[in-house]
Amino acid sequence: MFFHIVLERNMQLHPRYFGRNLRDNLVAKLMKDVEGTCSGRHGFVVAVTGIENVGKGLIRDGTGFVTFPVKYQCVVFRPFKGEILEAVVTMVNKMGFFAEAGPVQIFVSNHLIPDDMEFQSGDMPNYTTSDGSVKIQKDSEVRLKIIGTRVDATEIFCIGTIKDDFLGVINDPVAI
């Protein structure tokens, strides 16, 4: 799920950036530092959309660095248990398949794939229904439900299922 939230961060800025572009530098650095990171609480910071407020800088003794408390708005993405996501299959193997929804990697175990879908090995491993009408392979887009998440400091890993109503392939790269 995406959230547009306000976060705060203390930015340390090197004195060489002080000047008329200070604010720009600060913002650039903020984006550099923050975007793409992941925290267990908020999930992935997708984008900084704006600066709410840049507080007064505090010069640190000794280093000359200045710490600015920056409040910024950002879009974060955090997967939740029970959330329905659409994801792109990145890898298929006999144990299931991996899919990615943005930065989140989701594993769908073969136990969580409908029983009528069987694994077909080969050049392009895939899961196919017995009548061959539905096929999950690399680059397929699937709709899945997250049943578990593991949040580490730097990544979120999810287990998903497509063994439920209205879940499964939503478009097939082969068909296109």
């Binding site: 060489r16 572009n21 975007e35 993405f77 989140v104 990544e155 287990i159």
Partner: protein, 1075 residues
């Protein structure tokens, strides 16, 4: 047990004869009221007697009881004479009353002890009473045997005996005995000792009875106290006595006892002799057991039937029958007995047996079940049904593994599916299995399938809070009725069993079996629900066994070798060093000979040197296309670790000959200073994509736009790079830049594990990937060198910095994805942060792939110009104010992760992608990055003007450096081809305008009309040999010289000013217009 006390007997007889009635009265009282106090009352009321005598009396009673139990007829009838009838009468009373009597007696003496004082007091105070009680006292005195007074010690002994036995009996009736009381009963040094006497096997009981008889016959001459024969103890009996001599004396002459070997049982162990092991093996049907003896020793078996009376169990086993041997035996052939050989377990195939002419009978057992009987063995469904003694199986700590249980499923028919039967489950349980807060489910009884949470655990009972609201707050269950409960998605840790230590997420719950996805291996693990606990921890499980660790290269027997890919509890899985087909073996620790820990290097297919940690790509064989760092090298076999390879823990085994090095060799990087080796390295890049600069010259037109931003990174761009110290005490050392402060850098030396601080110019950049970067980087390295050689003091730290910053721009930016901002370390688990990748070509793969994560986008504004270019307001180089707040994330580079991200593709799977040469067009890897007209690269972006001093980059950058650092920008006085309106004409650049366009005078010597031409509309004329040239990029930018030779894409240039000969990329050379 034979036990005796002749004196007492004698006296007792008398006593019985004369004083039968009072005793009977006691009995009556006790029997009626069932109250011990009765006697006390009776004692205090009815008989004030001297304590001492009363003890004797009690004692007598007790002994009498014992004898009644043991051998009443013999003793009483024989010895009792006239009293016999009375005794019988007493015996005829409810036997329970005997106990009470005894108990009462015991109790009474305690009371009497207390009473003694009282007695005295009363005696003193009330002589009348004394008179009254006289009868009782008389009785007591009268009953004493005449000779008794002479035996003071006998009395004492009797008392001792009484104390001992009287109390020891108590626990039998009194269930409320406390531990402390129990402790007090333990034998002490003052007690008789227990001696172990050897006797004939099988005659233990007989021997004990003999001793008893002897005692009866001999009476007090025998000074032993008791003799014990234990059923479970063969060859020995126990004799209780004070002295060893007494035992010897008693044993003398018994034919069953020989050797006179007598050993003392230590006091501490005395209780063990007679304590009954509370094994209480609850052997029920379907319990898993293990055979303790015989051919099936250690085999798992399932209890089919239990005969508690005969102590026999019918178990179901997988037969270990050698049919051939059986057939031979049945035919009467001589069977060579090979003792060591135990046939492997295999299901019995009746047809097979018939083929071997073994007679198979069809029988029915007592339950009417059909069996196939072969030579006395019963088979059913391929299993062997065997009747064994309970003693020959063990039912504790069975811990059947899944493999074993799987085998027990009938092959073919899928089994009963009840692999994880409850019995299995309970057998595995340890104490303290349930903890508060555990989610549990009821598996037995009325409330089956009720879920809840453990609230409290006491002993076997678990109090749970049920999930359902209507139920009482807590319910108590027996431990065995509960099972831990998990739901798919739970993150758990395995705490026991073969997979102990592993963590993972539950993907399926099948009754009591969970299927997990291991966090590390991404493999399925099957475990019992009971073996796991919920946990958020992430571990690999065990990674070390003995001296060997996961990923170690080990030598196995017969010169096999392989890499450990999995560590199990007692064995390791090894991927053997057999190229082209993954061969995994499970080896025991002792089968591993040694760890191979040798640093070697071999040559790859293209004769490049490969050493460990180098990234190679497999170009031949079944694993073609895979790539990853080399973990081990041994005998020309490489073990490559590919994170994306899910099998075998990511290891791939391949011949060195079928691999090629991708990127630079880590170890060969040392040779960087050596131009020749470097060059030779450049010469052999076939599978390695060329640097963009090798592409048609036209490219540089738009390069300028993106390239320019290179300088922006400033010092920060340097941290993390590998540098080489050029001067000072650490000269020649390589290291990684940790921090940059002004002109000083702190460098962590690779070889010394320490951090040193140095000045910039002492460092030379050490790029182990120079090969890969090709000439462009080379030039740049030369530039560094030149600084050094020419002792160019004018070099400011910033100058270097910018150059480093430029490093972040090396052409081989892996261009992993256009949507850089979305790249998080997760995309590439364990990989180095992206910025590394940007800074140095292929660094994320070629270099330390295991460096810990760091913010992924250290440098993206530099490294991802393609995306930036599209949103001018982000242009860092453009001075006009930019509303940072304004842009929505979607505007500049991406919309949502779900959207474009997918289009970005998965670079790692797409090899072409990963090596895509274009750093600046990451979004179109297959695209034509060099097309000058590519609109996306319009360097016209305001601020993109790299050339113009003052506008480039951040203000801290000196304009000159800005130029210095960049690639081949157009420069005045060079010949260019101008394509405009489909025409092509040659011209000379006269001036570079602010916006990046140029004023070009047409004509080979610039005589024609002057036009303003966009950089995209022109390209520099490639100089030929001996042309005068002007250098458009690099450190020598602006210098003129003469092209004295061309070598591939490199030009050999003699610089006019210094007369130095340089090797420069042709791309940055332009023909100088002849004035």
């Amino acid at each position: 047990m034979a036990r005796g006390g002749k004196h007492e007997d004698d006296y007792e007889d008398e006593y019985e004869e004369e004083d039968d009635e009072p005793v009977a009265d006691y009995d009556d009282d006790a029997a009626e009221d069932e109250d011990y106090d009765v006697h006390g009352k009776g004692g205090s009321g009815g008989g004030r007697k001297r304590g001492r005598s009363s003890f004797i009396a009690d004692d007598a009673e007790e002994d009498e009881d014992e004898e009644e139990e043991d051998d009443e007829d013999e003793d009483y009838r024989g010895g009792g004479g006239g009293g016999g009838r009375a005794k019988r009468k007493r015996n005829n009373k409810a036997s329970a009353s005997d106990f009470f009597d005894e108990e009462a007696a015991v109790d009474s003496d305690e009371e009497e002890e207390e009473e003694e004082g009282e007695d005295d007091f009363i005696v003193d105070g009330g002589p009348d009473l004394q008179e009254e009680e006289h009868v009782g006292r008389v009785r007591n005195t009268r009953m004493l045997p005449p000779h008794h007074e002479d035996h003071e010690d006998l009395e004492a002994m009797a008392q001792r005996i009484h104390e001992r036995y009287g109390k020891q009996r108590m626990p039998e009736y009194d269930e409320e005995t406390t531990d402390v009381e129990q402790q007090a009963l333990l034998p002490s040094v003052r007690d008789p000792k227990l001696w172990m006497v050897k006797c004939l096997i099988g005659r233990e009981r007989e021997t004990a009875v003999c001793l008893m008889q002897k005692y009866i016959d001999k009476g007090s001459e025998l000074q032993i106290r008791s003799a014990i024969a234990l059923d479970h103890l063969k060859n020995y009996i126990y004799v209780e006595a004070d002295k060893e001599a007494h035992v010897r004396e008693a044993c003398k002459g018994l034919r069953n006892i020989y050797g006179q070997k007598i050993t003392l049982v230590p006091i501490r162990e005395m209780t063990d002799v007679l304590s009954v092991e509370s094994k209480a093996i609850d052997l029920a049907r379907d319990t898993w057991v293990r055979m303790k003896i015989g051919t099936y020793k250690g085999d798992l078996a399932k209890v089919v039937d239990v005969d508690n009376v005969r102590q026999r169990v019918t178990v179901k086993l997988i037969p270990r029958v050698d049919l051939q041997a059986l057939a031979d035996k049945l035919e009467g052939k001589e069977v060579v007995k090979k003792k060591a050989f135990i046939p492997p377990p295999r299901f019995m195939n009746v047809d097979e047996a018939r083929e071997l002419h073994i007679r198979v009978e069809n029988k029915k057992d007592s339950y009417g079940e059909r069996y196939d009987a072969i030579g006395g063995m019963m088979f059913k469904d391929g299993f062997l049904y065997k009747i064994v003694s309970i003693k020959s199986i063990s039912a504790q700590n069975i811990n059947p593994t899944f493999d074993e249980l799987d085998k027990f499923r009938k092959p073919g028919d899928g089994g009963d599916g009840d692999v994880a039967s409850l019995s299995t489950l309970f057998a595995n349980r340890k104490k303290g299995h349930f903890m508060k807060g555990d989610a549990v489910i009821v598996v037995k009884g009325d409330l089956k399938n009720l879920k809840g949470w453990v609230e409290k655990v006491d002993e076997d009972n678990v109090h749970i809070k049920p999930e359902l609201k209507d139920l009482p707050k807590t319910l108590a269950f027996n431990e065995k009725e509960l099972c831990k409960y998990f739901e798919p998605g739970n993150h758990v840790k395995v705490v026991s069993g073969a997979q102990e230590g592993a963590t993972g997420m539950v993907v399926k719950v099948d009754q009591h079996v969970l299927i997990l996805i291991s966090d590390t291996t991404k493999e399925h693990i099957r475990v019992f629900a009971d073996d796991v606990v919920e946990s958020s921890e992430v571990t690999t499980g065990i990674t070390k066994i003995g001296d060997y660790e996961l990923r170690d290269l080990v030598e196995l027997d017969n010169s096999n070798f392989g890499v450990i890919i999995r560590v199990e509890s007692e064995a390791v899985q090894v991927l053997k060093g057999v190229p082209d087909r993954p061969e995994v073996v499970l080896v025991k620790l002792r089968e591993i000979k040694r760890k191979i820990d040798r640093k070697m290097s071999v040559q790859d297919k293209l004769k490049n040197t490969v050493s460990s940690k180098d990234v190679v790509r497999i170009v031949e064989g079944p694993c073609r296309g895979k790539q990853g760092p080399v973990e081990h090298i041994y005998r020309r076999i490489l073990f490559i670790f590919d994170r994306h390879h899910l099998e075998h823990a990511g290891f791939i085994c391949a011949k060195a000959q079928s691999c090629v090095v991708v990127g630079g060799s880590r170890s060969s990087g040392d040779r960087n200073g050596d131009a020749y080796s470097k060059l030779s390295a450049f010469r052999t890049p076939p599978p390695i994509p060329d640097s963009p600069k090798r592409f048609p010259r036209g490219g540089r037109g738009f390069d300028s736009g993106g390239r320019h931003r290179g300088g922006r990174g400033g010092h920060d761009g340097l941290s993390g790079t590998t540098v080489k110290v050029r001067q000072g005490p650490y000269k020649g050392y390589r290291g990684r830049v940790i921090e940059v402060k002004g002109a000083m850098v702190r460098v962590e030396l690779e070889s010394q594990m320490k951090v040193v601080t140095g000045k910039f110019f002492n460092l030379g950049i050490h790029f182990s990937c120079v090969r890969f970067c090709s000439t462009w980087s080379l030039t740049w390295l030369f530039a560094v060198d030149r600084n050094h050689i020419s002792d160019n003091v004018a070099v400011t730290p910033y100058r270097d910095t910018t150059r480093y910053g430029m490093g972040s721009e090396t052409p081989m930016h892996p261009s992993r994805t256009p949507l850089h901002p979305y790249m998080t370390p997760m995309r590439d688990p364990g990989a180095t942060p992206i910025h590394d990748g940007m800074r140095t070509p292929m660094r994320d793969r070629a270099w330390n792939p295991y460096t810990p994560m760091s913010p992924p986008r250290d440098n993206w504004e530099d490294g991802n110009p393609g995306s930036w270019g599209a949103s001018p307001q982000y242009q860092p180089g453009s001075p006009p104010s930019r509303p940072y707040e304004a842009p929505t994330p979607g505007a500049g580079w991406a919309s949502t992760p779900g959207g474009n991200y997918s289009e970005a593709g998965t670079p790692r799977d797409n090899s072409a992608y990963a090596n895509a040469p274009s750093p600046y067009l990451p979004s179109t890897p297959g695209g034509q990055p060099m097309t000058p007209n590519s609109a996306s690269y319009l360097p016209g972006t305001p601020g993109g003007q790299p050339m113009t001093p003052g506008t480039g980059g951040l203000d801290m950058m000196s304009p000159v450096l800005g130029g210095d650092n960049e690639g081949p920008w157009f420069i005045p006085d060079i010949l260019v081809n101008v394509h405009r309106g489909g025409e092509e004409s040659i011209g000379v650049i006269k001036e570079i305008l602010q916006d990046g366009s140029c004023r070009v005078a047409l004509g080979p010597s610039g005589n024609g009309e002057t036009l303003t031409v966009l950089p995209t509309e022109m390209e520099a004329v490639v100089p030929r040999k001996s042309d005068k040239i002007k250098i458009m990029g690099g450190a020598l930018r602006g210098a003129t010289g003469k092209l004295i030779g061309v070598d591939g894409t490199d030009g050999i240039v003699k610089v006019d000013d210094t007369l130095d000969v340089k090797i420069l990329d042709l791309v940055i050379l332009a023909k100088l217009a002849q004035p």
